[in-house]
């Protein structure tokens, strides 16, 4: 395992080489926040609650979504590039689990994004926007745990789409479409509270609402024990299901590669 953690550490370090990009990266995330902040400030236009949701809850939810966006790093064209360049065979010869290595490298970059990009942004944002504080230590821990599970779900979906590059000329289009759907269903475009009720009830059956929205609710302390347990259970089931699908795609792809002589 320590070897895989090493992959994450190396990726983390290599990201520090671009200084110009680094400072601008913080500004960039901050601006994304300001866009949402301004829009919802105008929409609220002075009202303190809409549907029982306060303006500071909305801004907090946006900030958490942004943080998750930067933590959930996935190099979505990785597999396609390896297959296109024909270097996938060399990768498979290395005595490491290819998939785990990918996951840890991505996670390393995600960790870099959180530490160097999101945390500074959050501190600056807290200076001008009124944010909600976490409702308690336990809630915060649960929030982080649910973020990790959510990452594994998202990463596996990405891996499944990527593994289609064994068969397709390019997966860029599919990756893009997938991300649009996830963003809509996960409530990254609009806070889940304001989603029409009919759509929300459908989303409960997908893994998406617990990826972005559950951490927000945990942070704000809006869930009871039952809901928390149910949310975690749902994530675990989805992780298992997606793992099986991912393995099947991966193995079929490799078989196809071997048959065709890559």
């Amino acid at each position: 395992m320590s070897r895989y953690i090493q992959f994450a550490v190396i990726r983390f370090k290599s990201k520090t080489a671009y200084r110009f990009d680094y400072f601008l990266g913080i500004l960039n995330t901050l601006l994304s926040f300001v866009v949402y902040y301004s829009i919802y400030k105008a929409l609220y236009s002075g009202q303190s609650y809409i549907d029982g949701v306060s303006f500071s809850m909305v801004t907090t939810s946006f900030l958490i979504s942004l943080g998750l966006g930067s933590a959930f790093h996935k190099n979505e064209m990785f597999l396609q590039d390896k297959i296109k360049q024909g270097t996938i065979a060399n990768e498979l010869l290395k005595p490491v689990n290819f998939k785990l290595r990918m996951l840890f490298e991505d996670a390393g970059e995600g960790a870099f994004n959180v530490v160097f990009n999101f945390l500074p942004t959050a501190v600056i944002a807290a200076l001008f926007a009124h944010l909600s504080t976490p409702s308690g230590a336990l809630d915060l821990i649960l929030c982080i745990a649910s973020v990790m599970l959510g990452y594994i779900v998202l990463w596996q979906i990405s891996f499944i789409v990527q593994s289609l590059s064994f068969w397709l000329f390019s997966v860029w289009g599919l990756v893009t479409i997938k991300n649009v759907l996830i963003n809509i269903f996960a409530g990254a475009y609009i806070p889940m509270w304001f989603m029409p009720e009919r759509i929300r009830s459908i989303l409960h059956f997908t893994p998406f609402d617990s990826i972005y929205f559950m951490p927000v609710q945990l942070y704000l302390g809006q869930l009871n024990e039952m809901q928390v347990a149910l949310g975690f259970a749902k994530q675990l089931v989805w992780i298992a299901v997606l793992y099986v699908i991912g393995e099947v795609c991966w193995r079929c792809g490799i078989k196809r590669l071997v048959v065709q002589g890559g």
């Binding site: 960039n28 866009v35 105008a42 893009t176 479409i177 649009v180």
Partner: protein, 268 residues
């Protein structure tokens, strides 16, 4: 001019031929671009369902404002794609090739880079939004308004072209300009989706002076819609988009000419 056109068509022919080697993929890409951009519209639609209006703008008026972004970007991407991805051109050594060909460097970049698939995606979405919204917000088209609309679109394309020409020139000094693009283009574009008046003074100043996206869609849209929030700006701002485009482009061009000599090539 005929010479330039024939070069443009030669590039276009080879570019389209190359992209349509994989027909299914090309169609998926067009659809993906369309859907990705439509995501922003869906978000706007859902929010407006809940809140009704933003600063007095209805959903149809917002869609008209939005359509200008897509239409100008659809055209922009035909001419300025190479400048948008300029760091890659340098990194992969493609710019060296441009330098050893007997045509203006910028001429080649502007004529050859077109990303037709993305242009279809953005263009279709923009036209669709325009068709849906223009009627509902009650725009009356006559020779004068059509002419001004076309000039505003051209101005909007030039403004965005000038922004990327400036970034490309900066690439000669610092190589990596990804975040710069992200901040001063993509984020400003996110701002421009909603009316300028909802933002604080500082952001308004940026959208007016630094990266004048306000002239790409807000002021041209105000020319047609005359919403009450226009009262806080001088009226003549509604009429200068074409001039802003030309002026910015000329300035950016001068900076680009100056910076070209600092090109460092790759592999060093």
């Amino acid at each position: 001019m005929r010479d330039i056109l024939s070069l443009f068509f030669a590039y276009a022919k080879s570019g389209l031929k190359s992209r349509f080697q994989y027909k299914v993929d090309a169609i998926v890409v067009i659809f993906a671009v369309f859907l990705r951009e439509a995501g922003g519209i869906i978000a706007m639609y859902l929010a407006l369902q809940k809140f009704g209006t933003v600063n007095g703008w209805s959903i149809d008026e917002l869609l008209f404002l939005f359509s200008l972004i897509f239409i100008t970007y659809g055209i922009f991407i035909v001419f300025f794609m190479a400048l948008r991805d300029f760091p890659d051109w340098i990194k992969h050594g493609d710019f060296d090739r441009v330098m050893v060909r007997p045509r203006g460097v910028l001429t080649q970049l502007v004529l050859c880079g077109a990303d037709w698939l993305a242009a279809f995606g953005h263009g279709t979405l923009g036209l669709l939004l325009l068709l849906v919204s223009a009627n509902r917000v009650g725009i009356e088209w006559d020779v004068k308004t059509v002419l001004y609309y076309v000039m505003c679109v051209a101005g909007g394309v030039l403004i965005q072209g000038a922004v990327f020409l400036t970034f490309s020139a900066i690439t000669f000094y610092v190589l990596e300009t990804g975040s710069l693009k992200e901040i001063f283009y993509w984020n400003m574009r996110k701002f421009a989706i909603y009316p300028l008046s909802i933002y604080n003074k500082f952001i308004q100043a940026i959208l007016l002076i630094v990266v004048p996206f306000a002239f790409v869609n807000y002021f041209p849209a105000q020319f047609f819609l005359r919403k009450p929030d226009m009262a806080q700006y001088p009226g003549w701002l509604m009429y200068i988009t074409p001039a802003v485009g030309v002026a910015m482009y000329l300035l950016a061009y001068a900076f680009w000419r100056f910076s070209l000599r600092f090109y460092k090539s790759t592999g060093n």
